[in-house]
Each structure stands twice: as C-alpha cells, then as structure tokens.
C-alpha cells in the first residue's frame, strides 16, 4: 500500500552525472535510478538546521527533505557539509571563507524553535557565498504535522531564487497502486512520502484527474463491472457519481476553471467526447464522429480541447474549439500518438508515441511542430506535467510491473522508481499546495 520513499532522500547516495543504479540497504524494496543532470548544477551547501533533530517527519529532518528535493531536480549539486566544523544557523554566524573553500556558491542555514501550544517556528536564510549577501529568508509558524510541507516550501523558495523557475516541490501526486489483487487510488507528496489511500476496490481504477484547486479527484472505477466516473473530495471522502451512462464512462479531465469536465461516453457506439458540469448536470456532446475520439485535455487558456482519435485511420492527436466544430490535426509523424497533455505555459504537447514498438513519452513544440523523445520507453504511459511544467511524471514498466518515472522537460534528468510487490500506474501530478 505504501510507496515508501518514492523519490525520497537516500542519505549515503552520491549523485553522479552519469547513469547510476543505486540500491540502498535500508530501502531494500526500492530502486531509484537517476540518469543525467542539468547542464549546469548550482553547488549549494545546506547546513543542518539548529534543533531540527527534535522535529522530524518520517525519520527525516527539515534540511534532509530540502536537500532531497533540490537534488532530485537535477539542477543542484548539494555539497557534503560534514567536513566543515561550524554549524551556522543564521547569516551573522556564517564564516564565508569556510564555505568558499567547499566551492559552494549558495548556502542555506536555518533553525527550528519550539513555541507554546505545540507549535514550531522554522526559519531559514539563503545566502550567496561569493557575494556574501542574503538572497532570501523566511519564517514559518507551524504545527508539527506541517513540517514536510514547510520543508518543501523552503526548497521551492531556494529553487525559485536560484533557477528562476516556478515552484514544484510543495505539490502532490496521485496514482493507482495495484497490490494483492486490489486497486488503490493513492495520493502522496511529490517526493512519494505520506501516501494516503483515497479509494480502493477489487476492480480496476484508472484515469485519476485532479481538480485545478487540488481538492477533488475524478477517476474511472470498474467496481460495478463497467467504467463509471466518480468525483471524490479529498477532504471529506464524499463522492459523486459524475457519469454512469449506458456503455463506457471514462477519460475525465477538468476545465482550467474547475466548473466542468470533459468525459468520454460510448452509449452503444464508439468513444465520443462530451462536456458535463462538475455537479453532473448539463451533459452535452462536444464532437460527433464515427471514429474513436478520446482522452480530451483542455489547453491552459481553456480555448481548445486536445484529444486522440483514429478518424484518420491510425490514432493521432487533434484539437477542437471548446464549443466544438471542426477538429484540426496536431500530430503528423508516427502512426500511434495518444494521451495528449498540454504544458502549463501552453507551448508544448506531451504525448505517448509508438516508436517502432516502444511506447515513449514525446514532447512536441506546438509552434514549430518539432518532436523530442523524453523517455527511453518500452511501455510508457500517462505523462503528467509538474505544476511548473519543468518535469513530467509518467508510468513505465520495470520487470513486468508498473513503476513511476520522471523526466525533465528538456530530457536531461531522469528518475525511475519501482516498489517491490507493488504495481504502480496512472500517475497524475496535482497543483501546488498553498
């Protein structure tokens, strides 16, 4: 049930820029494989926060969680700080010469203080080691169960400040975990920690889709021996049967404003795309064709719906206006292009392409039409953009079982995770947490 330590911190792992399979004895069930790195990795020292050992979450300290987040991005070279004698926890305590000797360009210091009423004050500072100046500083007044989220937010501040990218770490992922003959829709932090089961069934569950505000997940469940779409609140567990029409009900996807969903129904024919309000009312057909039309996805500006269709013989990706009308073909190379996903900036289309029998994640520049393969493939499925568009999560297979993998949108950094005994598929990256 637990995807223990997905993308999680491996204390003794040294990251290298080359391919490395890194098994770790205390996580025997887990294999993380990391390939590649950013073109330029920023050397950063993260000093253990003062008093952080008193407030750990899942056996990890704040600085370890920050460290793991930054490493995972592939954009940082997190330096070993064990050889430096001093342990500054504020800017004024930093002896810059020590950290310059370590070749750090940036460094992070911080502390954890106990407050009344079982609350904690977490503060950190990000310093430019060469210029000897403070780049960022934050203070958080939290409850102990907000430690991990706080660590992810700290990592996001550092990542934003040093790379110029939008935040990514303080977010969650959903996926289906098949274990012991049961299917569980689970939600975990983006680093794989805190897995929670949202719904479980003896019958398949597929196609989880986050509402834009992250409060609900739509999914397809076969619990009644046919595909039916449910929308479930993560907070209350309450769920709505969104679509249970004759035939299949599948491929739910939310409009960017969260007021409606595009879904796929069949009645007595082939898959066709419909729109429906988020409360299950107002069903209307968006497109009519004698072919398969499925896997609708809104563009971030809500003007277009991208979808896969075999109307031209082989499955290709098309787009249609949000009020229907004539569909335009978007993919032209290859004879199997499915599962369209549009990047948050609206500029790229991720998809699954059959490349000579290998199903791979590919990225198409929507302006130029140029396509780049991002995953090495085999049986890759379900690409899903991180909230900032810099990373794609996708399903893959390792030794015949489902596993999750992540690849940076430039294809340079790749990670793969499998869990022994589990079969993980259908990942969906949720929005940033507030």
């Amino acid at each position: 049930m637990i995807v223990k330590g997905f993308f999680s911190y491996l204390p003794r792992v040294i990251f290298t820029l080359t391919l490395g399979v890194v098994p770790h004895s205390s996580f025997a069930a887990l294999t993380i494989e990391i390939t590649g790195g950013g073109a330029q990795q920023i050397p950063i020292a993260i000093v253990p926060f003062a008093q952080e050992s008193t407030a750990q979450a899942n056996q990890q300290t704040l600085s370890q969680i920050v460290n793991a987040d930054l490493r995972r991005s592939g954009l940082f070279k997190v330096l070993e700080t064990g050889g430096v004698a001093s342990r500054p926890s504020d800017i004024s305590q930093i002896k810059y010469a020590e950290w310059q000797a370590l070749q750090a360009q940036a460094m992070v210091v911080g502390k954890v203080e106990s407050l009344a009423g079982n609350r904690l004050k977490v503060s950190f500072k990000l310093a430019d080691v060469l210029k000897q100046t403070q780049l960022a500083g934050m203070e958080y007044n939290i409850t102990p169960n907000q430690l991990r989220l706080t660590a992810h937010k700290i990592a996001d501040v550092i990542y934003q400040k040093l790379t110029g990218e939008s935040p990514i770490f303080a977010s969650r992922i959903a996926y289906i975990n098949k274990a012991k003959g049961r299917y569980a829709l689970q939600v975990a932090d983006a680093d794989g920690e805190n897995p929670q089961t949202v719904v479980s069934s003896a019958e398949p569950i597929i196609s989880p889709a986050w509402s834009p505000d992250g409060s609900k997940i739509a999914y397809v469940s076969f619990e009644k021996k046919k595909p039916i779409i449910f929308v479930q609140s993560l907070l209350t567990g309450q769920r709505l049967t969104l679509a249970n029409f004759k035939g299949n009900n599948s491929a739910p996807t939310w409009s960017p404003d969260g007021t409606k969903l595009a879904i796929v129904l069949t009645y007595a024919a082939n898959s066709q795309i419909y729109l429906i309000n988020a409360d299950g009312t107002g069903l209307k057909q968006l497109l009519k064709s004698g072919a398969i039309d499925t896997e609708p996805q809104w563009s971030p500006d809500a003007k277009w719906l991208y979808f896969s269709s075999d109307r031209g013989g082989k499955p290709q990706i098309y787009k249609v206006s949000n009020i229907g009308g004539e569909a335009q073909r978007v993919t032209f190379e290859g004879n199997y292009n499915v599962s369209p996903r549009i990047s948050p900036d609206g500029k790229s289309l991720a998809m699954i392409r059959n490349d000579g029998g290998k199903y791979r994640v590919a990225l198409q520049d929507l302006a130029t039409g140029q396509v780049q393969f991002l995953s090495d493939g085999g049986q890759d499925e379900s690409p899903s953009f991180a909230p900032n568009g810099r990373v794609l999560l996708h399903a893959t297979r390792v030794s015949g079982r489902g596993a999750l993998a992540a690849v940076s949108s430039d294809g340079r950094v790749k990670q793969r995770l499998s869990e022994s005994g589990g079969d993980i598929r259908e990942p969906a990256w949720g929005p940033l947490l507030n």
Partner: protein
Amino acid sequence: MKQINLSKKLVGTLVLALLLAACKSTPMVDKPAAVEDKNPTNSASTMGDSSSADPNGIKELNVDGAASTGNNPLNDPNNILSKRSVFFAFDSDAVKAEFAPMIEAHAKYLLANGDAKLILQGNTDDRGTREYNLSLGQRRSVAVKKSLNLLGVQDKQIETISYGEEKATTCSDEACYQAARRADIVYVGE
C-alpha cells in the same frame, strides 16, 4: 521572482484526513445456501440422498452444475450458448466468420427471451495506453453488437462496454496476446 511574506502562516492545507471510502464490488453470483449435514446417521435432516451412500466416501456437490442442469442452456457446456468469447486479429475489430454460429445462437436466444439482456465486454492486450485501449476494446464490443443487430436484436437488450487492457495479463508470446484480444458475452444477472 515571487515575493513571499515573512511569517506566512500555513493553514491546514495538508489535510491528511483523506477518508478511505472503500468500494465493495457487488458479487456476481450469490453464494449457494447449501445445507450440509455432518452426521451421516441423521438422515432425516439431510438434503442430499446420503443415507444410502458410503459414509466414508466423499460425494462432490457441484452447485454450478446443479443450477444449470437441464433448465439453463446458457450454462450447459454442450450448448453453443455457453461459448462466450469472440476473438479478434491484431489491431482489428472485424468479427471472424468462425464466430458466426455462436453469435447467431445468442441472437436467437435474445429474440426468444425478450427480458434477457447481455453485456458485451471488449478487451485488448496490454500494449498501448489504458484509455486508448478502453476505446479500442469498445470497438470490439460494438462490432459484436452490430452482428447481433443484423440478426434482429434490438439495442435495448445489449450494453456494450470495454475493459480495455484491464483484464489482460503481461504477455510474452502471440498466443497470449491473441487470448487478450476478445469480446466477452455476459448475461445480466449472471
């Protein structure tokens, strides 16, 4: 760069009270309410005719067989109606001629039993993506439905759905892939 306020209080967004709403799937077949007498000497209350049987012998009770004997042609292994799978070629939803007698038999049964309803479940092998395979499997259930329509069966007696690749096993040979590419016929209530 985004400005972030100092002392920003984190509200309880990381609410971990994700309630587990377990879904219990409805069993397709009710458990037989068989009563078995453990004491062979008490023949008065036994259901089966075990009084004359060897008390040390084991009499197998086949409840499935008992239910179908004589009165349910759908489950009679000697009846073509017990054949329930239509197999397809790779990337195809064309119904092969060899399945015509079986589909004709089911059409005849549906026409003779107006209350009977069947569900056609399309299936694919596990190559490709789940949602697209769901649509491909649907093509196969629709193809069988069209064959039944041609024989006079109305849509109200048929529901076409797809399991896509959800029932498929991981295959390493063509026979395995072939077995996955099929439409299954299931009668409502079975």
